[in-house]
Structures are given as C-alpha cells and as structure tokens.
Amino acid sequence: MTFQAEKGQFVRLTRNFFTRFFENDLLSPQADFHATLSQALGLLATPGLFVPLLLLPLLMMDAEAARSWNIKLIFVFFSMLVMGVLSILEWDALMLDHRDQTILMPLPVRPRTIFAAKFAALAVFLVIFSVDVNAGSILLLPPLETQGNMGGLANLARFTVAHAAGTIGASGFTFLLIVSVQGILINTFPPKWFRRISTGIQVISVLGMLAVLFFFPAILEEMPRWKSEGAAMARFFPPMWFVGVSEVLEGTADPAFRSLARIGLCGLGLASASSVAAYAVAYGRYTRASLEGAVDASGATSRGRGMALGALIRGLLRNPLERAVCRFSLQTMLRSPKHRLLLAAYTGTGLALVLEESVALALQSGQAWKPAQEVVMLSLPLVISFFLLSGMRFIFNIPSELSANWIFQVTERREQTDYLAGARASMMLLVVAPVAAVVVIVYGFLFDLETALIHAAYCSLLSLLLVEALVWRLEKLPFTCSYVPGRIPVVMLLTAYWVAFLFYTHVMAFLEHEMLRSRPATVICISVLLSAWCGLRAYRRRAHVKNAAFVFHEEPEPVVCTLNLGG
C-alpha cells in the first residue's frame, strides 16, 4: 500500500472516529453531527464564560484579587471537573468498539492505521475540548489581572500563557489519567470483568467528583493553611499543582508553588507516558476481546438477582401492566449502563450533600445539639429521597434502546393508570422502601426505635406524596420515547426544583421537629399526611385523571430558527 493511500485512510478514519464521540442515543437519531458538536462546545464553554462574568464585579478594579491564586484554583478545579465528567461519559468511546471493528476488520486497512487514527481522534478531542472548556476564563481573566499598573501587552501575553497552561494542563492531565486508568484496567482484568468494573469505576468517579464539588467551598477556605504548611497538604489536591504551574509562569517567588508546579509537570508527564503506553497495549487486547464479543455482553445478569426481583414484584403487584412497567423500569435503571450512570449521578449529589451536612454535625458532636442542627439531622433522608425520586423521574425521559420501543406501541392498552402505577411502584421499590429501611436502622441507632419508626413513617409519607406529584401524569412511558433536551428553560426548571427542594427538605424537617415535641401532634401530623396521600390516590382513581395517549417520538425543534429576513 502506498504511503499516500494510507494517509488517505488515516484522515478518513480519524474524522469518522471523531464524529463517533458525538453519536449518542440520547439524542434523536437524526441529530446532525455539526449541530451536536456545536451544541456540546457551546454547553461546555458556557460555565467557563459565566464564572468570570459572575466574578467580574469582584475583580473589576482589583487586579490584586484577580491575580490571587484562589481565583485560579476555581478555574483549574472547574476545568478538571468538566473534563473528568466528559471523559467518563465518553468512556466507552475511548476504545474501538464492536461496531467499528466489524466494519473495519474485513477492509484492507492496516491495524496500525486504525490505531493511529483512533489515537489521533482522541488527541483532537482532548485539544478541542480542553481549549473550549477553558476558553472563557483564558480570554477574560488575564485582562483583569493586568488592569491598572500591571498593564502592557507583554504582561497580558504572559498572564494569558500562564493561565492557559494551568487550566489546559489540568484538563489534559484529567483526560490522560482516565485514559491510562482504562488502559491499565483492560490490561489487568479479563474482558468480561472489565465491562463490569468499568461501570463501577464510572459510577465511583462520578460520585467522587460530585463529592469534591460539594466540598470545594470548604477546600477553598482551608487551602491557604494547607499551602502554607510547606505545601504538604496542598500536594494531595491535584488542582493546586496546576495553579502552581500558572503561578510559576507568572513569575512567583513562592517556593510552595514551585514545588507544586514540579509535581504538576511530573504528573502530566507521567499521565501522558502511562496513557500512551497503557492505551497502546490495551488497544490490542481490547480489540481482540471485542472481536470475540466478550466485552459487549453488557447487562449480564445473575440469575438469582433477576429471580429475586421478579418474585418480589409478583408478590407485591397484582396488575400485570403495573408489573410489566415496574419490572421494566427497575431492569433498565439497574442494567442499562447509561441509566445506571445517571442514577449514580443523582445518588451521588444527594449523598454528597448528606455527607457534607453529616460531617458538619459530627464536628459538633461534643456539644449538645441545637434545634437547628436537629432539623438538619432530620432532613437528611429527605434530601436523599428528593434527589433519587426527582432523578428517577428525569431518567424516565431518557430512552433506552429506542428502536426496541415498538413492542410498547403494538401492545398499547387503554388502562393508562396501570402503566403509571407501574412507574410509581418502581420508585417506591427503588427509593421509598430502601430509604425507610435505612432510616429505621440509622436513627434507631442514633436515637431510639420509636423516634426512628416515626421518622421513617414521616419520610416515607412525604416521599409517597412526592411520587404522586412527580408521576401525576406522564406523557411518555419510562425509557420509550426519544428525548429532546431543553424543552423547558433550564433556569425555570432549576428554580422550580430549588424551591421544591427547600420546601420538601428544610420546611418539612422543621415541621417534623416541631411535631416530635408532643405525641398528639405526632399522631395528628402523621394522620394528616396519610390521609393526604390516600385522598390523592382516591381522587386520582375516582376522577380518572385523564392521561393523554403516550408519545413515542419527540421531534427535535430546529436547531437554528431562521428569521427569514432575507428578501
């Protein structure tokens, strides 16, 4: 094969692999690549632009503050976080998958060309996105740093380079680290295991990143102390390495930053080397395994677990439609990698919040608790159930194997309330019941059994009311309709969620705290909640709250609305 021909193949394949990063069955199958790419770039660049703009009033007229390393830490941390989430989402696309292989293997393309193209596509991805994510701050922060007496083009250039090196280096490090972790896993574990471990790693990484996100304000506060003590503690927080890099490039004399920057550069070098090496070795191994189909059998189930779930559902639910929808939701939530990851993200957010509050409470455990702290304590299970239930409700919208939804269309029946009951039942089984069980155990241990039982009943009734509210109507069966993001304005949605969250957790926990003071109040409160729930259910059944026919296909709105101004 001539060099020219091979080069042609390489360019074609690189382009093809790059577009594959944006193939995503969340989106409507017709979604156009360029539209998806520009949307993704826009979405990821927004926070990078937004954060400096938010800080603008603070940093305007104050070059000193803009130059402070704490500000840099925010941007570096953000850059790593976004890149981390992005690489976790693209986890499956890092390697050549089964489909690529079945198409490419029979073709006369040298394996090294395929490998080089895949690698190049990853590199292009890394460069484009790490620049995109940080573009906002790279453009906005240096001018603020050089306002006033630090002005001058030379300074501006120096600060821009320093800031770019810090943030882009941090993104690059994160991406390369994840690539090498994947490479090492592939090399260490048998292919079947790799699949299972992958999902675990993805879930844990998302949980970890969310937890760090929640603790970030505290970390930001503590960091000056950690840094000053010979940089010992700061060393364990990788974003600080890259803050070091940009500080050194800006010409700091602080030895702590010099040592941090050294670690950063070593880390980056190590991550690059290990990712290249691990990827290269893993690539061959993975390719062989995937060709044999060993990696693809996702969602393999153990017979026992499936059977236990089946028996439980059969025992609890009488109506077949209800059973079908409930079982299908649980199976999808727990087996489809994408849905599992989303669920983990919601669980992680909830758990991180709870963890943060618990740590705060534990730090004060020496002294007697004040009422405010007791309220926080009581609100913890509500926080978890809020995130899990609203998360599930959102995840219902995300289709799973959309092309298989025909079975729901051809078996459609009139008893829509039964379908909805199934969706509700899955929320109760996956969230309400386990949370209640944990509440009984944990609060029984912390307080006494009676309080624990009352608390569990209170939380469960609230959760059940929330379930009713979330699934009052449903225009799509869980997981069966294509999803078009951005139907409802994000700001509106977030505000609504925020208000609901505060009400559901804080206000209700406060009420419970008051209620627990007297037994009659407790009895009255629980009975009110219980009758509210029963009443709602009865009303829903009696009034036959009308659910419109389920939709199975949602059309995307045109990406660009032209105004038709041209003659």
Partner: protein, 255 residues
Amino acid sequence: MLEIRNVTKSYGRLTAVNNVSFTVRPHEVCGYLGPNGSGKSTTIKIITGMLEPTAGTVLYRGQDIREDLIAYKSLLGYVPEEPHLYSYLTGWEYLQLVGELRCLPSEALERKIGRMLSLFLLEDYKYAPISSYSKGMKQKILIAAALVHNPEILILDEPISGLDITAGLVFRELVSRLAGEGKIILCSSHELSLVENVCSDVVILHRGRVVGRGSIEELRQLRNQPSLEAVFSDLVASDNIESVARQMFELVMET
C-alpha cells in the same frame, strides 16, 4: 376479515406505498411479495397501526382500525423485520414483559413462556441477556413474542429470516395450523418456498403499487408462467436477470 383499502404513504416526495388495496380473510395466509424497497414493510407498519397512512384506510371486520386502535392492537401479533429487542433483558424476561403488557395472567404466562422457549430450543439461553443471542435466536424471541397472547391477526414481516432449516420448517407448519384455526395471517417474505407452501393467496408489490394479486395458481395461469418465481420475475423485474448479472460481473472485473 382485514381489508386494506386504497392505502397510500408518502415520505416527503417519495410515495412508498401507492393506492394499495387487498383483503386477507380468516383461514387464509396471504403472502406479501415485492422487491427491496417496494413498500412491504411500510404497508405492514400501517396495518399494525404504528404508522398513519397518508390516505386510505385499513378495515378490520368492516371498521376502520384507527377508530379503536387499542382494541385492534390487542388482537394483533406482529413480527417486525428487524430484531430490535431490549438487549439487557434475558429472553425469558423479554417474553414476560410482552406477556404482561398484554395483560396475560401470570401463572399461565410463565408456563407458556417456558414451553415456548424449550420448543424453540432456547432452554439453555433463557437466563442469558439477548445481547448474547445469535440472529436466529433473536428471531425466535420475536416470533414467540408475537404469538404469546394467541392473536387473531398475525402480521409477519420476513419471519423466517435467520432461522435455521428445521426451525423454518417448524414455523411453516405452525403458520398453516394457525390459519386452519381461522386466524388472519399476512406474511411478507423473500423465501418463495415458504410462500408457495403456506400462502393461499399472494399480493405482489412493485414500486409501491400492487402489480399482481390472487392465488398462486391463478397468477401462474394468468401470466402464463411455470412457477411463482417466474410470475414474480415477469411482474417486477424490468430488466433481464441475466443481463443485470452480466453487467454487474463486468463492473466487478473492471478494476
């Protein structure tokens, strides 16, 4: 009786199905033939109610199916042409899902699923996820899912594609028996042996239009051809098969 009356379906400028009419009666297996892209699957999706026709109606027992689509769907068994299944479910779980969506009582359903899987020789795979099934195994799951509720109307889109020879023969025998019981069966297929053996009537479609309709015998006499294959070629093949093959051959040999 299932009556397809003047059905037309357009996708933008393309008319995939053009004024198609035919009738399928109980005790009858109607074969639905036509070259690739002639509009068979499109008609079939219209008959299942999944696709709305641009014009025309489908009548079941004289009533437009769109008047009460849900009641109609409960009588319908459908094997789609592509095996789109939930790959993370096991074969058993998939059939259970379908049975429950059809509101079958659970004990009877489980017994039926067990028997079906063992008759289809899938016993050993019932707890394996469908993602690990072979093409033919997936096809068997599709067929089982279409039959699990004992439907009145069976709409089969290339039902034996991927089935091995024995399974194909079993299926052929099964379809004949179901027709004998008075089911209404429409079967699209490229396997002329299946069509010749089980179909009492055939409808031949070409570029969205019906070009031939009647029993195989009638069509043979009408077109004065020795076999169904010859009738088919006569009706739809505009070019001489040999000449197309020759041109193709020359093209292949060019480089």
